[in-house]
Amino acid sequence: MRVLGLDIGSRSIDAVWLEGERIVDWAVADSGYDPGSASAAFVERDAHDVLVATGYGRHVAKERFGCAAVTEITAYGLGAAALFPHAASVLDIGGQDTKVISLGHGGRVVDFEMNDKCAVGTGKFLEVMARALGFTLEEMAAASRGAESGIATSSMCTVFAESEVTGLVHRGEDRARIVRGLHETIAKRTLGSLKRVDAQGPLVFAGGVAKNPAMVDLITAGFSGEVVVPEEAQIVGAYGAALSAARE
């Protein structure tokens, strides 16, 4: 059976094609302003027997394609546990949400926590800060890793933090130290969430922000157990969504 898993997120649409439980292909596209059409392009690209959608666009996909839908939380649990059978917890930092998941047997979700409406500490937050400081995302992560110490910022609201960053820049502060401070604050908040769901190692760090080596460093340093990052951290949700059908 060929299954297509689609993770229609706030920033990207990730697709994974499975044959049985084996990944045969995957792709990533920008969500842009018309995620429906971008999803349709994946759906029409290749023949499949079953389609499962996850992410913010799952309900729209369900209506448009008549497919099944699961939440990102269930999908990330399944995907992470399939990639790392010993995984005990998952951290997914995506474009707009941060999710921490405590796993039971076979990737079953035992407990989870997710941010409310605020996009603090997510991919979106990092993108806004990178732009404010004239960095690409790669340059920002490299600068943060290279900085000796971070400058703490008090506000974690994306809008207020940007104003604060602007203030620091005009004071002549080193932008590498500013981004280091931002990364440290996000890591601290995230580690707090992990503690609240009693996350144990090994922790699978996935989602787009897991591609940021500075974030991976800080989470690894602060977490009590082992931290593993999948090779393609962004497609774990799409993979898990596809698995949810493949296993039925």
Partner: protein, 255 residues
């Protein structure tokens, strides 16, 4: 607090209120009129209890959203009219239960909601939960069981005894405004069992510090009773509906 000295102070307050009501309305409260009023409002509570009792059935005969609306209206509507209509609704629900008819199929995930009361027209969380495919079977809230589960004693013969009975009933509510509120935790656990809930959603309105403070104790007790809990803090706005839906759906997938 609910110590004897608090009750004494509260009774004095209720007497002040009675005086004020007489002053404002120009009516005199008599043993006869108060006795009739106690009976009338108790009948309203009894009617609401009937709806609640019907919701212990699987499948649940009415959606949580409709039941919540009925409870919210109880605060505003003309009492005898409301009681009559709710009893008619309860008759219909009893028939549905007897026929095995439900608002959702048997086996649909059943959720008990507890926390900050939801004043009319706030049914945001019920809407999210039921759109996600579960059914809300009960509310441990002031717009729920706390409003109707206890009656005012109808045994009083003198006006004084009756005013005392009214005061006693209202001090007995397990609202989070009382310090040491173990009764609420017991109610939540008991209701979760009675209504055969699959999970509990603990709701606090933003800046409703009282329910946020009790949230940890509720969560611990419900988990000890073997049920999962989802804690939600939200407000009246719609901007977090996307994230809340994901959280509620993931919670249901977890059950």
């Amino acid at each position: 607090m609910k110590r004897p000295e608090d009750l004494a102070m509260w009774k004095a307050e209720v007497r002040e209120l009675a005086k004020k009501v007489e002053e404002v309305t120009g009516n005199t409260i008599t043993a006869g009129s108060l006795s009739a009023a106690i009976k009338e409002v108790n009948d309203k509570r009894r009617a609401l209890q009937r709806i609640a009792a019907a919701c212990t059935a699987d499948p649940a005969p009415i959606s949580g959203k409709d039941r919540l609306l009925a409870t919210q209206v109880a605060f505003y509507d003309d009492v005898p009219r409301f009681t009559q209509m709710v009893n008619a609704l309860a008759d219909e629900l009893d028939q549905r239960v007897a026929a095995g008819e439900g608002v959702a199929p048997k086996g649909t995930k059943r959720i008990l909601v507890t926390g900050t009361p939801m004043a009319l027209p706030n049914w945001k969380i019920h809407d999210i939960i039921e759109k996600a495919g579960a059914v809300v079977v009960g509310e441990e809230m002031c717009t729920g069981s706390r409003y109707y589960q206890d009656l005012v004693s109808e045994d009083g013969t003198t006006l004084d005894e009756m005013i005392d009975a009214v005061a006693e009933k209202y001090l007995d509510i397990n609202c989070a405004c009382f310090t040491t509120n173990k009764g609420r935790i017991d109610d939540v656990v008991r209701m979760a069992k009675e209504y055969e809930a699959d999970g509990v959603i603990d709701l606090a309105l933003q800046f409703c510090g009282l329910y946020e403070m009790e949230s940890h104790g509720i969560e611990t007790a419900v988990r000890e009773a073997g049920l999962p809990v989802l804690k939600i803090t939200t407000d009246y706005s719609m901007e977090d509906v996307g994230q809340l839906s994901t959280r509620v759906e993931a919670f249901l997938e977890m059950l």
